[in-house]
Subunit: 146 residues, 2 copies
DNA sequence: TGAATCTCTACTGAAATAATAGATATTCTG
DNA sequence: CAGAATATCTATTATTTCAGTAGAGATTCA
């Protein structure tokens, strides 16, 4: 049970955008270079983040990406949710019809509670919180471009 | 991000064993029939559960499986941990050397905290708790054999 | 006009997941 | 002792998901 690269890269992508918040659009190429992630792959993460209203894009020359809301108004839950789909640990929690045992299944309760506690944690953390932590740690060295 | 069938089936398997705790060994075949899971596949879950000391087996005729400890002494964390491996949501939390960014990575903190809160929840629930819930719900109807 | 940039569709390789098949070893019971 | 019942093991396979790549198209600025 792991968070996939979609969720992990997505968080890094958003932290990167938050870091440059207010300084004009950020190039996907720069994020890819700095975070060492394939640009093409990153783009696949942009799409759902955009469609869910977390980022805006500016096309054409001098274009790029910017956050659609202030970092304090974006929670980790929104980000992960957009990228990994539901935050439920098993299908039957959200969709009881997925299993005929749903009504009488004790383990379903377990997964429901675990899912909920997990989602609550992600909801309690905003991009602004992440930015604070990042500042405390200092950014990794060797960062000429962005 | 989903719990795989290993973890899900494993919990059901253990609840089944707990239900029959003290009534002699339970046949894998019966668990498979009642829970509607392939017997062969279930056996693959038995192995790690046994090797971690959660269940005992009795070979030969009149054999089967029994819990190695009372239900109240078995946590969900032990079960899931045995079946899904580490409970960490990303590798770098347990193994910083898995990523060169580990030291300065804010998102790693996020995953570490989320992993911890998840593990804590699973640790707080025992098989006995699950049994209580199952009793409240009543077992699914149509259970002639076990 | 042309360079810079986002956008899209499609494809591919690798890994994990879920399950199956068939043979072997052990123990109880009559 | 014979044989039925049961756990144990090794190997194989099919399916799905994950991660990444390729290349063409659309838009905007200067």
């Amino acid at each position: 049970m792991r968070i996939s690269t979609r969720g992990r890269y997505g968080v890094r992508l958003m932290i990167e955008l938050a870091t440059h918040c207010g300084k004009g659009p950020v190039l996907l190429k720069d994020i890819a270079t700095y975070q060492n992630i394939s640009e093409k792959y990153l783009w696949q993460l942009i799409k759902p983040l955009k469609s869910v209203g977390l980022i805006n894009s500016i096309r054409g020359s001098k274009g790029g990406y910017v956050l659609a809301k202030p970092p304090a108004a974006i929670t980790m839950k929104e980000i992960i949710g957009a990228l990994e789909g539901s935050l439920c640990l098993v299908d039957c929690v959200d969709h009881p019809e997925a299993c005929e045992r749903s009504e009488s299944c004790a383990s379903r309760d377990l997964w429901g509670e675990a899912s909920q506690i997990f989602a609550k944690k992600l909801e309690s953390l905003t991009l602004a919180d992440m930015l604070d932590r990042q500042k405390q740690k200092g950014r990794p060295s060797g960062n000429p471009t962005i």
